[in-house]
Symmetry: C2
Subunit: 387 residues, 2 copies
């Protein structure tokens, strides 16, 4: 089991803070945006007397609300097709346990969310990467490249859309290409759509829109980013495949139930005013525009303009991102401030890739982003391993 | 993956309720005792604005409180030795993932909590049962029987103390016997002590009290039963083994964090008045005494007097407990009432065992227990498969 690529920097960040240095955390997808008050109030104003187990698939009242939410984004579901999980993490774990035998393979475009690898290790399956490139904004690799990787052990393709860590939003054309492949080879398509609402230009194209592959498509979801409710630990495993749902339910029953309070929060969130996502999106878009402008103004830095989520992958003029990210915390400060970034090596399965790249999460306000970019600019001048 | 032995009866219970029949749920460990108000208030009166991820090991403030709690039961820990999990379920999952390779073996006295089997399936390990008998109250099987089962693949022994489903409380002598075995064969000892406070006569003998096996002992814990807080989904993985903690942390980081609200509840629970457990224990003891008296008064029923938890295993004069439990819900009622029980076959790994046994959870008040026992008495007269 590999250590989390970001978390291994945590002791250096703690040491920097102990020295009185302000650390701007662009390393983790923890939004600073307030959890909407009605969402927290649903928990705080609850009246039950016994904090009971919920249904293993989640409270029926919450699943009914989720049916409403999904109908609004043109995904038609029944409550039976939704299994509420403890974060998207558990949905991925259950999915891997149910769809794969040990030794089976899942194809994932890299760079990808590092914890997919962790859950693959936990369940004994093999991640087969297909590399996407910064030069075309981390678009889906050519479909022939994906098809080349399919073997007798391949059971699924997994995408994250909008993508973490790249911010790329898959186009409808790319989704149709994926549809062809999963249909032809009878594969599952896992689609992690936790950032669905955060698309700044293009319309989101859900895997659930794909026709005639209903039994192949698995939607992984989460309220963490959508409502700034990471600590609620509420996600969902969604599919129209009845047999698969039956298997997932066995794992869901073994762990008894998802957290009750988080479900109350999630249920209330569906009733937020219609403009909630617009307001949030405006704020994130402003931050994205700022961070992209600032990054592109730094000599030697390259980055695409990510269309969604709240991440950007940038190529820096450095020898080794792991060294650089550690150095920023251990040996650098500017006006008593520094930044914490996520080294991109942790997002690539292929060894040696991503050494010059970092992921920046624009989860801080514009003032903080400006200060952080001042630090980065200065750091790239001072870093001994600059190229 | 097997279906939960209890949950497969759920549709029959739902059908009975739809017919207007009252179903007494003695089948599941969901206490009816109210969650203490200060525990719920800690959540309801919380003031934060962003529902953030907590530390992957759990909030430090909660782990500090847990250190206090454990000191009170004579278990001396540091915050680093405690990893807060999403229920005991996740602690077991992480423990199995970290201590075993696929194909390794864990020895568990049977009957045992059915979900241990589920987590073993999920992680590809083999459960090797050693049978304990109703005739001596489900005491630890002779240590020679346990030693006979040890192979080159055995990595651990797992006990639940007080035991679910039997209610048996392991004696200090039995714990010392287990200590000898794990020391001699260098095995892990998983000790699930979720029911620690519910010992009605004997003193609880924690695995954490065992000397010179600190690196072998793993404590699995949960706030679910202790404070009637099942829906909080808060447990803990505890050990003094530093290397093992490092591995567990990698799995903990992959799933980001345990639920925040449940941690607030757990933290407040440590400050409950000292007499909290006494009051709860008096209530459960009263129920135990009643249910044992009623069971033993029914002709052909045998049961031991369980010293802890809130379960009792009873041997009934029936052909097949799965049939009987389904029949109770589908074909029987008395004064428009019936009972839901857990068939014991689901708690035995050895095929064919437990066919005449059921588990009863005394999680209902004395009036309900009396009404449920009236039903059972009547049902055992009417059941077509009686022996």
């Amino acid at each position: 089991m590999p250590q989390s690529p970001i978390r291994k920097l945590v002791p250096f960040a703690e040491a920097a803070k102990n020295k009185g240095i302000t650390v701007y955390h662009l390393n983790i997808g923890q939004p600073d945006i307030e959890t909407p008050k009605p969402v927290l109030d649903a928990v705080r104003n609850s009246h039950f007397k016994v904090l009971e187990y919920s249904h293993s698939a989640g409270n029926e009242s919450y699943r009914k609300k989720l049916v409403e939410y999904y109908a609004r984004v043109n995904i038609n579901l029944t409550t039976e097709q939704i299994i509420v999980t403890t974060g998207a993490s558990e949905a991925i774990l259950f999915g891997f346990l149910s769809c794969f035998d040990p030794g089976d393979e899942v194809i994932i475009p890299e760079p990808f969310y590092a914890n997919y690898h962790a859950f693959a290790v936990a369940t004994g399956i093999k991640v087969v990467p297909v590399t996407s490139g910064i030069e075309n904004g981390f678009a889906l690799p050519a479909i022939e490249e994906i098809e080349k990787k399919i073997t007798i052990r391949t059971k699924a393709i997994l995408i994250c859309n909008p993508n973490n860590p790249t911010g790329y939003v898959y186009t409808e054309k790319e989704m149709q290409q994926l549809r062809e492949v999963i249909l032809k080879h009878n594969l599952y398509l896992f689609s992690d759509e936790a950032y669905r609402e955060f698309c700044y230009e293009a319309k989101h194209s859900s895997a659930m829109y794909l026709k005639d592959v209903e039994n192949n498509v698995i939607l992984i979801d989460s309220i963490s980013k959508r409502y700034s409710a990471c600590g609620g630990r509420i996600g969902a495993f969604i599919t129209k495949n009845k047999t698969l749902l039956d298997t997932i339910m066995k794992f869901a029953q073994a762990r008894l139930s998802p957290p009750e309070f988080g479900q109350l929060a999630g249920e209330a969130a569906v009733d937020l005013p219609k403009d909630y996502f617009n307001i949030t999106k405006v704020e994130y878009k402003k931050r994205r525009d700022l961070i992209i402008k600032r990054l592109n103004a730094i000599p030697g830095v390259e980055c695409a303009n990510p269309g969604g989520a709240f991440y950007v992958m940038a190529k820096l003029p450095i020898d080794d991102c792991d060294n650089f990210c550690a150095w920023l915390l251990k040996d650098f400060s500017y006006k008593n401030q520094t930044i914490m970034l996520a080294p991109a090596t942790g997002f690539y399965e292929t060894k040696g890739l991503g050494k010059q790249e970092v992921r920046l999460a624009y989860v801080l306000n514009c003032d903080a982003i400006n200060a952080a970019m001042d630090c980065l600019e200065k750091a790239l001048k001072e870093y001994p391993g600059k190229i």
